[in-house]
Amino acid sequence: MDLEVAKAFAAAAAIGLGSIGPGLAIGMLAAKAMESIGRNPESASKIQVPMLLAIAFAEAIAIYALVVALIIKFV
């Protein structure tokens, strides 16, 4: 197949497969946070900031995959 076709497939696969893991991770993080807020509503403000930080770490992995896909497509 052509280089262009292979590049298109590679970019799509990079971001498609690369966002499975972070998606699951963010879902699990948020689920646990919601559950603990449900158990103890007063702790909501104490949980928010660490949860946001952890979600940012997990999302960064998806962003690495996105950057790889963009580099494949545009460089």
């Binding site: 940012a56 962003i63 950057v67 963009l70 545009f74």
Partner: protein, 274 residues
């Protein structure tokens, strides 16, 4: 769509220094921040009647102090780190949002770029004799559109520079808090073989922090720009609207996260080793 470019486009050169469009935008944003700071400072007063802007800003600063306190659990540390973390937050917030200002894509110049293309031709099968053509290099005067302004955090150079600033500040604040021997002892730990290995891992994790900080910010903002371009290309006036809202939110969150992560790592750097 040839407006999407991973690399910031070069506008002009001063001496040997190439000025790209994101450097120009960074300069404009810096001037805006400095002018705002001077104006607010002039109008600041400690009398009983203060203006709404001043009380709003005081609310903002006290709110951010309390958020920082919730992370560091120590008032003195918060005061020490406040200047750096707040500056990072304000600069990154304005950089992220500046890519959304109308006119940041369309206002630009046309430049003639000499692109030498290899005209690759296939050699036909040997049955047809007329066909052997060698690849020839032709120079096309190719006109390219270069936007004058570009959001600084959509350029990897800017985010990498911010991450390097954070990295250096971790070391400086760590040495200031612990003294150089104790701080170096975290990384070069000769007490036991396991400790030595952990020290090496700490060095690697410092570099990983720098890479992850820069790529997180760059990826989010650049992907947002590409998304807005593609949406505008598909359905011109209607489709980008919700995505502009998303980009405003993402810009705020990414600035907050960069500042928060810097704060967390600063606190870890000034903690005593266990």
């Amino acid at each position: 769509m040839n407006e999407i470019s991973l690399v910031a486009e070069h506008l002009f050169s001063i001496g040997g220094f190439n000025v790209t469009n994101s450097i120009l935008t960074t300069a404009v944003i810096s001037v805006v921040i400095i002018v705002l700071a001077f104006v607010v400072h002039r109008k600041m007063t400690s009398s009983k009647k203060i203006s709404k802007t001043q009380s709003g800003l005081e609310l903002f600063i006290e709110g951010s102090f309390s958020v920082m306190d919730s992370v560091t659990n120590d008032d003195k540390l918060s005061r020490r780190f406040f200047a750096l973390v707040m500056t990072l937050f304000i600069v990154i917030l304005l950089s992220n949002w500046s890519g959304l200002i109308p006119g940041f894509g369309p206002i630009g110049i046309y430049e003639q770029k000499q692109v030498s293309e290899e005209v690759a031709t296939t050699t036909e099968a040997t049955q047809q004799d007329q066909s052997v053509v060698e690849p020839a290099e032709q120079e096309h005067a190719h006109e390219v559109f270069i936007p004058i302004f570009r959001g600084p955090s959509s350029d990897l150079n800017t985010t990498f520079a911010l991450a390097i600033i954070s990295l250096i500040s971790f070391q400086v604040f760590g040495i200031a808090a612990l003294g150089i021997f104790k701080y170096a002892g975290k990384f070069l730990n000769f007490k036991s073989p396991v400790g030595f290995f952990v020290g090496i891992l700490e060095i690697i994790s410092e570099i990983a922090k720098m890479i992850s900080l820069s790529f997180r910010l760059f990826g989010n903002i650049f992907a947002g720009e590409v998304l807005l371009l593609v949406m505008a290309f598909l359905v011109p006036l209607i489709a980008p609207l919700p995505f502009f809202g998303l980009e405003i939110f993402v810009g705020l969150i990414q600035a907050f996260i960069f500042a928060m992560l810097t704060l967390v790592f600063l606190r870890i750097a000034s903690m005593k080793p266990h």
